[in-house]
């Protein structure tokens, strides 16, 4: 893998990237940050003269999606941080995406414009209304060419559907509905209807003191419009079938790994909380991330995952200090590659991990400005555990826990990955015919 671009750089809290998402073709990549902004990158078309420039992503458009708000009824500040972005399947020349903060989901449309209408009857060049008494004849406005402009416009605002914080949104394969999940409930929305949503899952106990479990992530099946999955803080996955009933409070399948009594500790429950769940492109498998591992589940086997990969098992002995500095609650995401053969997830010290499911090989790579120059090949990194320490190895104690890679995305077809390391976005690309994996 070689780095193609390091983008964004100012060290500013608002700049911290909070989500990364490729669109369905991979031509566009959207990031959201804590400041409520969405930045869209577009892949430059391949040019024959400079083969190297192929696949470079450049800023296409930037816009403010959410603003900080205040809920006066509940005396609650609503952060502008973008929690998730999801692209809609393209319906015409324009692109659309959903972005959400803790409470409000917005549908944005991104269009290109290279013509501008001029000669309106009722408004002047600046768009102000003309005095009607001066309008004595009619003219047809004409389109004049202008520089290409990317225009982003808000199409819908889906507000007031959630009492708790929205952690995920997912567009259904019927292209007509999407769902949004908060800590205790999942709502189903029609993409065209903003004033109505349907609650399909509600795990809120009658008495909040009985609360033992919250929803951490959810996703629709990529092909079957009736299936969706949600993960919980107890480490279980629930698959629901919307055909069976209007309310999916009862799951159809429960994926849960029996707890190993020998490993039981104070932290067992915290580290088993699922922070992300993703269906494979084929729809056959699900990928989950908990604090120390990534797991692959087969939809047909509920009892245990078919594969478990250790992301940073060396932290198991450090859980106590990770608990004290709150790192144990970090929510790492995970991603599939286009052919579902490789999985990727983030770790600390700006490391991210990849696991090849076929060869069972794994690799740790680092996303940092110092170690990666454009077009240089990334060197695998190793964290040394115990005695033997090789050159370039890093000891567990010197890992920087403030540098964490929570958000990652993999191009839907090619080996291009986007890594968000706090306020930096790295885009790495497979060398032509590289042997990486």
């Amino acid at each position: 893998m070689s780095i193609t671009k390091t983008l964004l750089g100012r060290r500013d809290l608002a700049d911290i990237i909070s989500t990364v998402e490729f669109n369905h073709t991979g031509e566009l990549l959207a990031t959201g940050d804590k400041g409520g902004r969405v930045v869209i990158f577009q892949r430059e078309p391949e040019s024959k003269n400079a083969p190297h420039s192929q696949g470079e992503y450049d800023v296409y458009s930037t816009f403010q999606s959410h603003e900080p708000e205040f809920d006066y009824l509940k005396s609650l500040e609503i952060e502008e941080k973008i929690n998730k972005i999801k692209w809609l399947p393209q319906q015409n020349a324009a692109h659309s995406l959903l972005s959400t903060n803790d409470k409000t989901i917005k549908l944005w449309k991104i269009t290109e414009r290279d013509k501008r209408p001029e000669g309106y009857n009722l408004k002047d060049e600046e768009g102000k209304l003309k005095d009607l008494s001066t309008v004595t004849s009619l003219q047809v406005p004409v389109l004049k060419p202008m520089d290409l402009m990317v225009e982003v416009s808000p199409r819908r605002i889906f507000a007031n559907g959630h009492t708790y914080h929205i952690n995920s949104i997912s567009v259904n394969s019927d292209c007509e509905t999407y769902m949004s999940a908060d800590d205790l409930r999942i709502n189903l929305w029609h993409l065209a209807i903003t004033d109505r949503s349907f609650n399909i899952v509600d795990i809120k106990p009658a008495n909040m003191e009985d609360l033992t479990e919250v929803i951490t992530a959810s996703e629709f099946h990529p092909h079957h419009c009736n299936l969706f999955v949600y993960s919980s803080s107890k480490g279980s996955l629930r698959l629901c079938d919307m055909r069976a009933a209007a309310l999916c409070d009862k799951h159809s399948k429960l994926f849960e790994e029996p707890e190993d009594p020998s490993n039981r500790s104070f932290f067992s429950e915290i580290i088993s909380s699922v922070s992300d769940v993703k269906f494979s492109h084929s729809g056959r498998y699900m990928l989950t991330r908990d604090y120390l591992t990534v797991k692959v589940w087969d939809l047909n086997m509920e009892a245990r995952p078919i594969e478990t990969y250790q992301v940073h098992d060396y932290l198991r002995s450090k859980l106590c200090s990770l608990y004290e500095n709150d790192c144990i609650f970090d929510k790492f995401e995970c991603a599939w590659n286009g052919s579902d053969s490789v999985i990727m997830t983030g770790a600390y010290n700006n490391f991210f991990r990849m696991f090849d499911r076929n060869t069972k090989r794994d690799v740790t790579l680092e996303a940092s400005r110092e170690s990666s120059k454009p077009r240089a090949v990334l060197k695998p990194r190793r964290v040394c555990v115990g005695g033997k320490r090789r050159r370039d190895d890093i000891s567990v104690d010197s890992l920087d826990f403030t540098k964490k890679i929570l958000h990652t995305a993999w191009h839907p077809a090619e080996n291009i990955i986007a890594i968000a390391a706090t306020n930096n976005l790295y885009i790495f690309q497979d060398k032509v015919n590289s042997d990486m994996h």
Partner: protein, 692 residues
């Protein structure tokens, strides 16, 4: 297109009414539609948040547009954009024959609407405007464009249709984006009947390919137009082509497609003979009724009456009734509720000679179980129609079989169920008389009347006049009168308001004598209540009752009380006295007006409180007008000179920041210690939109 039809529970997370953070692109003012035609312009507006009441000040001009130039490019485009605006703003105005010339005369005025349209359409859209509009991503715009295209197609000659219209449909049907293909689905049926045979074959071919389109959106559009297309096809083609398409769509992998096929089933069934139905349609319908997805089964339940009519009595008896029984005991509550809604219609559509036996033997057992269903939506759906069965089953069956069910539902724990029964009492009254029910009715009513939810109380108040009429004065006085009086001192304003209106209706029903003996004394006693809200209720009651009670009672009993209250220490009461005097003025005679009302109003006109002064002066001018009219009775046109007092409407300019909602006077003057008053205002403002 059909948004997913069939959920009813709103997001549980939602509290109170829905707030829009910015104009919802979809449902807001009619004006918005204009902006859609020209994509992108919306965006400028949103960004700069410039206000857009472009048309509002001159909305009246708009009738110029429709009716003009129908059938050709621009004119038709106009139709597309303006038609929905017409629906709301100028219902009926389009029929007045106002062409563009009609508004002539004043130069810019007549240009205005056209200018708006030209600006909105711009030349890129003017070229083939509807074809463009039929491909935009906003469903509403597309649907309107298709609607207009369908109208235009009727204006084409068959030759022009094939030369221009059919190619357009083909272009849309083979468009790159699904938006144009979905639009095409709606256009096949209008060009098919008048096309030549060769073109017909092509059209059928294209429709076939859209039915198996890759995107579910197009398949949904095709499924929803399948029935309509089938109607214009030759019977042979229906059998050979539509039925296979229908079968395919009905087994689509997406349930959102399958459920639309159920709708198509109704239209297709109407075209086929009984034998064909049995072999071609029934297998698919049976499958739909047992579909894995509750949404498809819901659709079958929801369309049951139509299906029943289309399939005819024989299939109904053999197939549909058993299917219906299954739907009534479906595992999904939404489906049971939809089926329960159809119970009455099902009965009405059965052949008269057999329906009693069919319902008694095949449906009633299931209904009996639904009465104690676990889901309240199901029970209340049933409660809203079950009374209708009594007319079908006749007196004896009703008493023997239905009455126990009614009684059980009157005791149901869910207020909605009880309300639905009570609101349909008239059906059963015709068959067996309400007395049969009164024993159970009363406790049910009393309980609803004291329900903790004020909306429930409000709902039951609205049925009081009806109940009063059916139960008679005696029963009413004995059992219900006290309830009606209790509502007058409810702590929620909406209830007190409804209670005063209720009194008025009761007086209209039972007459003035009854009012004088039972209502008026009790109302007037409240004038001395320590709570100023209750004292005001007296005034509101007088406002409502004076007309129904007539001059004598008003002058002799009510007026003295009103006048006495002019000295109240709470300003709200005093200015409501002024308003009441204005309201009852027309009923009083000159002497009372001149001798009693006028001095009091003049005194109030000097009040230290500006609101009291304001309303007193308003009342004085109205009363003075009235006095003048009485002096010169020739001019009396019979038109009441008093403007309809509307307590929501305050004619004077509002102070900025002042709430313009109901009774802004409370926050101004309300005794701060009276927290109830404050609370209920909050409640009113908060829930004014939605009822839960």
């Amino acid at each position: 297109m059909n948004p997913c039809p069939c959920f009813f529970r709103l997001g549980k997370g939602r509290r109170g009414s829905i707030r829009f953070l910015s104009p919802p692109v979809f449902l807001s003012s009619d004006l918005q539609l204009l902006q859609w035609g020209s994509e992108g312009s919306l965006n400028h507006r949103d960004r700069n948040s410039t206000p857009q009441p472009l048309l509002n000040p001159r909305g009246g001009l708009l009738p110029c547009c429709p009716g003009a130039g129908r059938g050709r490019g621009l004119g038709a485009g106009r139709e597309a954009v303006t038609s929905s605006r017409r629906r709301k703003n100028m219902a009926g105005a389009s029929g007045l024959g106002t062409g563009p010339g009609a508004a002539g005369g004043d130069g810019d005025d007549s240009l205005y609407p056209i200018a708006v349209l030209i600006d909105e359409l711009r030349n890129e859209d003017v070229q083939p405007p509807l074809e463009n509009l039929a491909t935009v991503e906003e469903t509403v715009v597309r649907d309107k464009a298709v609607e207009s295209l369908r109208q235009i197609s009727q204006e084409h000659t068959p030759v022009a249709l094939e030369a221009y219209f059919v190619p357009l449909v083909k272009r849309l049907a083979s468009g790159d984006w699904f938006t144009s293909r979905t639009s095409a689905c709606g256009l096949f049926s209008v060009c098919y009947p008048r096309a030549s045979n060769a073109v017909k074959a092509e059209i059928r071919q294209q429709f076939r390919s859209l039915c198996s389109d890759d995107t579910p959106m197009v398949r949904r559009a095709a499924a929803s137009k399948l029935g309509e297309f089938a109607k214009v096809l030759e019977l042979d083609s229906v059998k050979s082509e539509i039925v296979p398409l229908f079968t395919n769509l009905a087994s689509d992998e997406q349930d959102s497609v399958r459920l639309l096929a159920v709708e198509a089933c109704v239209s297709i069934a109407q075209l086929l003979s009984q034998d064909d139905l049995e072999t071609l349609v029934m297998p698919t319908l049976r499958q739909a009724a047992e579909d894995k997805s509750w949404r498809v089964r819901y659709m079958v339940a929801d369309k049951f009456s139509e299906l029943q009519k289309a399939m005819g009595p024989k299939i109904t008896l053999n197939d549909l009734i058993p299917a219906f029984q299954n739907l009534l005991k479906d595992c999904e509550a939404e489906v049971r509720a939809a089926a329960a809604h159809k119970v009455k219609e099902l009965g009405e559509n059965l052949p008269i000679e057999d329906r009693e036996t069919i319902i008694m033997n095949q449906i009633l057992p299931y209904i009996k179980e639904l009465v104690s269903d676990t889901n309240q939506h199901v029970k209340s759906a049933l409660a809203s129609v079950i009374m209708g069965l009594s007319t079908i089953l006749g007196k004896e069956n009703t008493i023997e079989h239905l009455l126990p069910l009614f009684l059980a539902q009157l005791k149901d724990e869910c207020p909605e169920v009880r309300l639905n029964i009570i609101s349909n009492l008239d059906c059963v009254n015709e068959v067996i008389g309400i007395r049969q029910l009164s024993q159970s009715l009363l406790p049910a009513i009393v309980e609803l009347a004291e329900d903790a939810k004020w909306r429930v109380r409000l709902a039951i108040i609205e049925y009081m006049p009806l109940l009063a009429g059916q139960l008679g004065v005696e029963f009413f006085d004995e059992k219900l009168n006290s309830l009606c009086m209790a509502w007058l001192v409810d702590h929620v304003y909406a209830i007190r308001e409804a209670a005063t209106n209720n009194l008025m209706k009761l007086v209209q029903k039972f007459g003035t004598e009854w009012a004088q003996n039972t209502i008026v004394p009790k109302v007037l006693v409240m004038a001395n209540d320590p709570n100023y809200l209750h004292r005001m209720t007296t005034l509101f009651c007088i406002n409502a009752l004076s007309e129904a009670c007539g001059q004598e009672i008003t002058t002799k009993q009510m007026l003295p009380i009103v006048l006495k209250m002019a000295g109240d220490q709470v300003a709200n009461v005093r200015f409501n006295v002024a308003k009441s005097l204005q309201k009852i003025g027309p009923i009083l005679d000159t002497n009372a007006l001149q001798g009693e009302v006028k001095p009091v109003l003049q005194k109030l006109g000097q009040d230290e409180d500006m609101d009291v002064k304001y309303f007193a002066q308003e009342a004085i001018s109205v009363v003075a007008q009235r006095l003048r009219k009485l002096d010169f009775p020739v001019k009396d046109s019979g038109e009441p000179s008093v403007p309809r007092a509307d307590k929501n409407h305050f004619p004077r300019p509002r102070v900025p920041g002042e709430d313009t909602g109901k009774g802004p006077v409370y926050p101004l003057h309300g005794d701060t210690r009276d927290t109830l008053a404050q609370l209920e205002i909050a409640e009113l403002v908060h829930f004014s939109q939605s009822r839960d």
